[in-house]
Amino acid sequence: MITLTSADIAELETLAQEVKVSRPHASRLIRRVLKTAVRPSDETLVTTSEAARVLGVSDQTVRNWADAGWLPSKRLHPLGRRLIPESALRSVQAFDAAKLTSKKPVSEDDAVELVRKHRRERART
């Protein structure tokens, strides 16, 4: 796999255009290389395994979500592995970081019961 800089890509595109008439085969070859080359990106991408770790699910679940288009994903190469933009996971990390520190530990089941109790009391007032 070839990784090119933005300058490399611009130069090769210019070259492909210049030799389009004089050397059409070379021009097509350059364009084929450009199609498969890894293009630089500012976006940080993570593997499906890393995304699965952050989301607390299996790799297969992440692949299911990516296949459905529910989770953004991309491939740097048509035959390359699927990668997930880190930005898609950032809000989850922000949610995790804002954890409430319980002053009085309450179980999740008791919390559901308290929601019911609150709803009943609210209706009475």
Binding site: N64, G69, S91, A98, L100, K103, A111
Partner: protein, 177 residues
């Protein structure tokens, strides 16, 4: 992997319509106080924050969540609660519940008028220009006394957080209740 699924994985396929889910206060409050990140309620909220489905809330649900978590049993401040849910408040679509004066609607929530605003938020999702056309909608509640799991009034699947997470993990191919 079949040849066609391999090919689809290479060239990509049309995205599946996202699911729409109203999260009841009985999911949000346990998620807020959970000690760990891997409980079902937390996973359902994290999935909403990640944008895996269209999460729908109303000001009623937000206020009820704040009020419940401010109770002496929890003792949190509004600032703490809003910080905890900042990512969810930003991601969710906040809809105005549809008017719910029709007595026929009471049957849906087993005659409990207190639950109507949550159900009416689900109906608002049905009526919403962007969310209405999406075919699969859920009302996710742990209050199984009033919201009978497995029921599907007005096209809204009533499911517990546990069931919703199970379906979500299976993705678009999940067999719906």
């Amino acid at each position: 992997m079949t040849l066609s699924s391999w090919f689809a994985s290479i060239v990509g396929s049309a995205p599946e319509p996202r699911w729409v889910a109203v999260l009841d206060t009985s999911v949000l409050v346990p998620a807020a106080i959970a000690a760990r990140n891997d409980t079902i309620n937390v996973k359902v909220v994290r999935a909403a924050v990640a944008g895996l489905y269209e999460c729908v809330l109303s000001e009623y649900i937000q206020d009820e969540t704040r009020e419940t978590l401010q109770r002496p049993e929890f003792g949190f401040t509004i600032a703490e609660i809003d910080t905890r849910f900042a990512a969810l408040w930003a991601k969710a679509r906040i809809l105005e519940p549809v008017p719910f004066d029709d007595p026929a609607l009471l049957k849906v929530v087993h005659g409990d008028r207190d639950d109507l605003p949550v159900f009416a938020t689900g109906l608002a999702a049905n009526a919403d220009a962007l969310l209405g056309p999406l075919p699969t909608k859920f009302l996710v509640s742990n209050n199984s006394t009033d919201f009978t799991p497995g029921w599907k009034p007005f096209g809204l699947h009533f499911v517990t957080a546990q069931r919703f997470w199970h379906l979500l993990e299976q993705g678009a191919g999940a067999k719906l209740p």
